[in-house]
Subunit: 202 residues, 2 copies
């Protein structure tokens, strides 16, 4: 037996053990349910990840609702791409970040109007996936009552998936979430003087 | 002046200061360039984030290439959704994870065939965005020579964006990346017995 054959055999034995472990774990996970997924942290990728799931869901013929809580521009790639497709209801309901509007009362009114739309989707079992993009901010700043948000999320149809994105997700939202990813920025091109690139950031 | 008015005024002053700071930062970032973005870590959201950027790019009329290095199934939502669209070239070139194949030589051959396709896209300026999904594994395990991968990435057209996904991105890949997000799992439904859900995980 030459050296390469030995390496390949050891590789095979190691991978057989790994496969047995992973197969056992997969066999244990046999429940189907609607998932509440929270994508938070300061790193790049939260909203784009939600939009990737929109594509996945549409690929399976599912119906999708999207509410963008902060964004006010309607020239984004995601909106241009998805909003004209069948199976998607897309709402850009923000007014920009609170330092853009500088008007707290207006922000509260805007946020609550957006929540009305979200709330309707969360009560409608025809939506298989609901994306609440940048929703953490309206919860964190208290623009929409946390109790109202949590109640609507908890009372949603059993098989409905929800994805919430945004920095600084409040602990009470993390508590009721099924899956939470904290996206940590290791580095960001912006800090090297590169502005937000079309197709990547918007 | 009542209490609420005072609160709103303080809010406005605070947000004016914040806006000035952020506007200054944005003014400094004035370069346009192709970005190499690496999405790594064990948390959920890496591939879906890449696919969200595919949607963004298509929304701007850009041309996109995707190579999936590990995935072998072609019933995923993302593939079903994107692969039939104009402006996308989509290749599912994997054979499953290495513990599924258990055959190191076969994995090496599969990985190098996938890199051939990636390499062609990275040399073609007509691609505005190239997604190398789960590519970190073939680099980490040494299935494709790291030098070859790095050279092709560095030599790509100036305005071409590349997104690489996968756990355990090697340091030499992070070194040449412009933006890196480390996706940390805070919790995952899988560990509560929920299997991979259609539209969310695939």
């Amino acid at each position: 037996m030459n050296q390469d054959d030995g390496r390949n055999l050891r590789h095979k034995a190691r991978m057989e053990r790994k496969k047995a472990l992973i197969d056992a774990k997969i066999a244990e996970a046999d429940t189907d349910t609607g998932i509440l997924l929270v994508l938070t942290g300061n790193g790049k990728g939260k909203s784009s990840s939600a939009f990737g799931m929109v594509a996945r869901a549409l690929g399976h013929g599912m119906k999708v609702g999207v509410v963008q809580f902060i964004k006010s521009r309607t020239d984004t790639g995601e909106e241009g791409f998805f909003s004209r497709l069948p199976g998607v209801e897309w709402h850009v309901m923000g007014d920009g970040f609170t330092w853009d509007t500088q008007n707290r009362e207006q922000d509260i009114a805007t946020a609550n109007a957006a929540w009305e739309t979200a709330s309707r989707m969360l009560a409608d079992p025809s939506f298989d996936l609901v994306v609440l993009d940048e929703m953490t901010y309206v919860m964190k700043y208290g623009y929409v009552q946390a109790r109202r948000i949590l109640d609507d999320l908890l009372a949603r149809p059993e098989m409905q998936h929800v994805v919430v994105t945004g920095r600084g997700a409040p602990p009470e939202l993390l508590d009721i979430a099924d899956t939470v990813t904290d996206m940590q920025p290791v580095k960001h091109a912006f800090h090297s003087g590169v502005r937000a690139q079309k197709g990547v950031e918007w």
